[in-house]
Point group: C2
Chain length 350, copies 2
DNA sequence: TTGAAAGCGCTAACAC
DNA sequence: GTGTTAGCGCTTTCAA
C-alpha cells in the first residue's frame, strides 16, 4: 500500500462526487452566499469524505495571496528579537498563517532584498524591524494597496506605515530620574551603536532629563566590548569629578559594565549605581541584581500582529487608511543596583 | 505613473522579445543544456531587459517544490534555538532559499501539525528539533522520497532520517571528570525536565562517570524555578555528607543555582563547585564566571543545513540512501566556578 | 442558484 | 536545437 503516492483530491473530484459543478464547490470553499443549503451540505460531506484540501499554488496563480506573513528583524539570534519572532509566529498560527523569517544582519541592502523576495512570493503582509536609516524608492515600491507593512520597534523612514514603537525616550527619562532621586548628580550614559533609532531616542531621553535638572551630560558611545568598557571605567574613575552613576543604553553594556566593576572591586551601588535599558532573564541573577528599564517584546509583537491581521482582513493598508501609531510604555524594574531604596520598590527576585 | 500596477512579465513576453518559443526560455531559466549559446544569450538579455522573474506559484502548480525550507524548534524564544534559527536562515538565503519557522511549544501534536502544514506547502525540506517522544504513523507519512527531513539536536523517534546530534553524554562525562580532578567525590546532578533526549543523555553521562569512579550518584530533577533550587540547596547543605560540587543539566539551572548560592553566602567554588551544561553569553559575566560545557548552536545549524541542502540537490533522501548521523563534540570552557586550577586553563574572560 | 469555459504562468512530452 | 500543445487546480466571467 503506497498511500504516500496518492495525489491530493482536486476540486473536480469533489464536484463529481457531490454531483455539482466545480464552481459550486469553489463557492462552498470560499463561503460564497449564493449556494442552496442542501447543495452546500452535499459538497461539504464530499469534501470531508475525500479529505480535500485547497491547493495554495493554484490559488496563488489566480492572483490570490499566500496565507503567509513575513518577519524581518536585524538579528534573529538576539534574545529580544527572538522573543518577538516567537510571539509573532504563535499569533500567526492562531490565525491560520505561517511565518517566513529573515535576519537583515542590520544591513539595509540585505533588508530590502529580503523584503522584495517576500513580496514577490505574494505573502499576505510584512512585519519589519528596520535597519534602514533613510527612505528609498525601492521601499516605496513595496508598499502596494494589497500588501500591508507594519513597522515595529523602529519606524520605517520616509514611509507612511502602521508602526508599533516603544517609549524609549520616556523610559530613559524615568531611568535617569530614578538615579537622580537617589541623589546622583554626575550620571554618565554609555553604549555602542549610535545610528539606531531606539538608541538615539534613549540618548535623547537621558539628555532631556539631565538638562531639565541642570546637570551636565556625559555620553560615551562606541563601547563595543568588555575591553572598551574596562578602559572607559578606568578613565572615568580617574576623573576628578567622577560619575557616581551610569545609565547603560542596552543590556549588553549594562551586564558588561557590572562585570568590569566587580572585577575592579568597585562596589555597586555604593560606589557606582547602574540602571540598564532592556531587561533580561539574568538581570535578577547577577550580583547585585540590576535595575533595568523593561520593554516587552511580547507586547510589541502582539500589538504589531493585531495591526497586521486587521489590515490583511480589512484589505485596507495604511495607504488608503490613516496609519496607526502605537506607543508602548516601558516599566522601571527596580532591583538593587541603584542603592538604598524603599522596601516596597524591590522587585521580586524570581 | 503607477508603476506599482504593472504586472510581472511572463515567460511568453520574454519569448516574444527574444523571438523564440516559450520552451526555449524555460530551458534557459532552468539551465537545460540543449540551447545554442547564441540563443541563450538572446533570451538572457530579453530576461534582463524585461526584468523577468520566475513565478513560483506556476512552477509549484506543475509539481515543483518551493524554494523554501522549514524549521521547527521547541521554542523560538530560547537563545539556543534562536541562534540555530539565525544560522539556518543565513545559510538558506545563501543558497537561494527562504525559511519558514515554527515553534512547537514542546508539544508533539502541534509539532506534527506544523510539519504537515509545511509539507503541504511543498517546501523543499524540513529541519526539525523534535519534541516527539515516540514515533507515529503521521510522521511516517511525512517522509516522502522528495521531501528530505533532517533531525537535529534530538533524533526523530522511529524514523530513519539524517540527524545531527551533540555528544551530550561525553560532554557530561567530561564535566563530571573535571569536578573529580578537583578532588570532588560527592557530586550532585540537578535539572528540570527529564523526558527530553538531550537531558537524558547528560544524565547518562553523569551516571556512567560516577559509577566508573565508584561514586554514589545523587540526581534531583523537577527543579523548575529559583524557589525549587533554593529548597534543594537548603536541604542539600543540611545533609550530613553534603555534596561539594554540582553538575547542572542546563543553563537555567546553573545560573539560578549560582544566584541562590550567592544569596545564601555559600562560596563558589570554595564551598561548592559548579559546572553547567550549555554555555551562555553571560556565563563569563556572572560572579564567579561559570565553567560550562559548550555546545555550538551555530555548528549544529551549519551541519544540519549542509546535510539538508545536499539532500535537496541530490534528490536522494534518507529513504533511498543511508541516513547520515553526525555527532558534534562539546568543549569544556573552564572559568572559575570549579576551584583551583592551572593558570593555562583559564578561559579568556572576553 | 448553478454551471461551462477560459485562462493564470509554467513545464513535460512530443513534434519538427 | 527548438517550437507546439496540453494541462497542473483553481477562480473569474458570463450564460443558463
Amino acid at each position: 500500500m503506497k498511500s504516500s503516492e496518492k495525489r491530493n483530491p482536486t476540486i473536480r473530484e469533489v464536484a463529481k462526487l457531490a454531483r455539482v459543478g466545480v464552481m459550486t464547490v469553489s463557492r462552498v470553499i470560499n463561503d460564497h452566499p449564493s449556494v442552496r443549503t442542501s447543495t452546500r451540505k452535499r459538497v461539504e460531506s464530499a469534501i470531508i469524505q475525500l479529505g480535500y484540501k485547497q491547493n495554495e499554488a493554484a490559488r496563488l496563480l489566480k492572483g490570490g495571496r499566500a496565507r503567509i506573513i513575513g518577519l524581518i528583524v536585524p538579528d534573529l539570534s538576539d534574545v529580544f528579537f527572538a522573543s518577538c519572532a516567537h510571539t509573532v509566529q504563535q499569533i500567526a498560527r492562531a490565525n491560520g498563517y505561517m511565518t517566513l523569517v529573515a535576519s537583515s544582519e542590520r544591513d539595509a541592502e540585505l533588508e530590502m532584498q529580503e523584503a522584495e523576495l517576500m513580496a514577490s512570493r505574494m505573502i499576505s503582509g510584512l512585519l519589519i524591524v528596520t535597519s534602514l536609516e533613510e527612505g528609498s524608492e525601492r521601499l516605496w515600491n513595496l508598499q502596494r494597496p494589497d500588501f500591508p507593512i507594519v513597522a515595529f520597534d523602529r519606524p520605517l523612514p520616509g514611509l507612511e506605515t502602521d508602526a508599533v514603537l516603544v517609549e524609549n525616550r520616556t523610559g530613559a527619562e524615568g531611568a535617569v530620574r530614578h538615579l537622580m532621586e537617589h541623589g546622583h548628580k554626575r550620571i554618565a550614559c554609555i553604549g555602542y551603536d549610535a545610528n539606531v533609532y531606539t538608541i538615539n531616542e534613549r540618548i535623547h531621553g537621558y539628555r532631556d532629563q539631565m538638562r531639565s535638572a541642570n546637570l551636565k551630560t556625559d555620553i560615551t558611545l562606541g563601547l563595543h566590548n568588555m575591553e572598551d568598557i574596562r578602559q572607559w571605567v578606568s578613565s572615568a574613575m580617574a576623573r576628578e569629578k567622577r560619575p557616581t552613576a551610569v545609565f547603560a543604553l542596552n543590556h549588553r553594556t549594562s551586564s558588561f559594565l557590572l562585570r568590569v566593576l566587580t572585577e575592579k572591586k568597585v562596589k555597586v551601588p555604593e560606589e557606582m549605581a547602574i540602571v540598564g535599558f532592556d531587561d533580561f532573564e539574568l538581570a535578577s541573577v547577577v550580583n547585585p541584581p540590576l535595575t533595568t528599564v523593561l520593554q516587552s517584546p511580547v507586547d510589541l509583537a502582539r500589538r504589531s500582529m493585531a495591526l497586521l491581521m486587521d489590515r490583511i482582513r480589512s484589505g485596507k493598508t495604511a495607504m488608503d487608511d490613516a496609519p496607526a501609531k502605537i506607543m508602548l510604555p516601558t516599566r522601571l524594574v527596580i532591583r538593587r543596583s541603584c542603592g538604598p531604596h524603599r522596601e516596597e520598590d524591590i522587585a521580586s527576585l524570581d
